[in-house]
Symmetry: C2
Subunit: 181 residues, 2 copies
């Protein structure tokens, strides 16, 4: 079972940007990569402890500016090496589960008009997602940071994906309207 815990590497990767608390890591992920990657607190906090025990990160308690104390973690050299090794390995193919597609695939059970509602909902959801990504792109294009090109690449992947989905919704709507119930 070579199924390595990818949360580990996600956290290590975040800490290459700057030192962060568990709360910061969660916010960072939600803001930058949530369109293709997510982590929950239930994963983040235990993983931070494990990484510290292994010496891949180091935590320091700080008084919170406006709120409770924070534990801010920074990546160690050992952590950077561990992350680097993983980053060089080929990526595992994604195991996707699109409930939208699944429900549409079984559309013959509920008929074309009910199926079209799924398309309509997907269109709305995708539109607002695209708006969000487009706004982020404007911000990112101003950045000269060393990671900006990589962030832009995945961000534009998300935008292309959204645009593709919207075009597919149009085409599918046209096709399904021709289906007799």
């Amino acid at each position: 079972m070579a199924r390595l815990n990818r949360t580990r590497f996600t956290i290590l990767g975040c800490l290459t940007i700057e030192p962060m608390s568990g709360y910061d890591v969660k916010r960072f992920i939600d803001r930058t990569i949530s369109h293709f990657w997510n982590e929950s607190y239930g994963q983040i906090y235990p993983t931070l402890q494990a990484l510290e025990e292994e010496g891949l990160i180091e935590g320091e308690r700080e008084p919170g500016e406006r709120g409770p104390d924070r534990v801010v973690f920074r990546i160690t050299n050992a952590g950077r090496e561990d992350l680097g090794r993983w980053l060089l390995e080929p990526a595992e193919p994604a195991v996707t589960r699109y409930e939208h597609s699944l429900k549409l695939f079984f559309g013959h059970v509920i008929g074309p008009s009910a199926s079209l509602q799924h398309v309509e909902r997907l269109r709305e959801r995708t539109r607002s997602e695209l708006d969000r990504l487009a706004a982020a792109e404007v911000e990112l294009e101003k950045s000269a940071a060393s990671w900006a090109p990589y962030w832009l690449a995945v961000l534009r992947g998300g935008m292309r994906y959204s645009e593709m989905v919207l075009a597919w919704c149009d085409a599918t709507e046209t096709d399904l309207r021709k289906v007799t119930p």
Copy 2:
């Protein structure tokens, strides 16, 4: 915790096409929807037993034509109703985890040339996937079955996705070549 077991509905949906054994269900999924949905035997066989106990499907033992005995399941009216209710509910948003995008996002750690290798591998994988889907499209277009329009819709979604990824690979390659290590 309203996290309903979607394997149940996947199996019920398959059985609306025709009666199938667990083995058939697995093969059917692999052939038709594996580009966006997968199930393993470890899920399928226990779920079949549960569905039968609930009266949503009925199994009958048959002698295998060339091999061991098979248990062929057919969906009941109760099963059809259960599936129909679920199909009418709005789809849950997909929780995706693209390792490819994640590794690229942290590309500043390994630099542009190593990151480009990820793009190259993704391109190869996507090309063969697109070939596979295009061949399936040719077959499906001949079908006059009631489910053909829905199968075509999701299949073309997969093809659009693959084409989008290939175009993104080209654009990303161009962009990353300009990045100095």
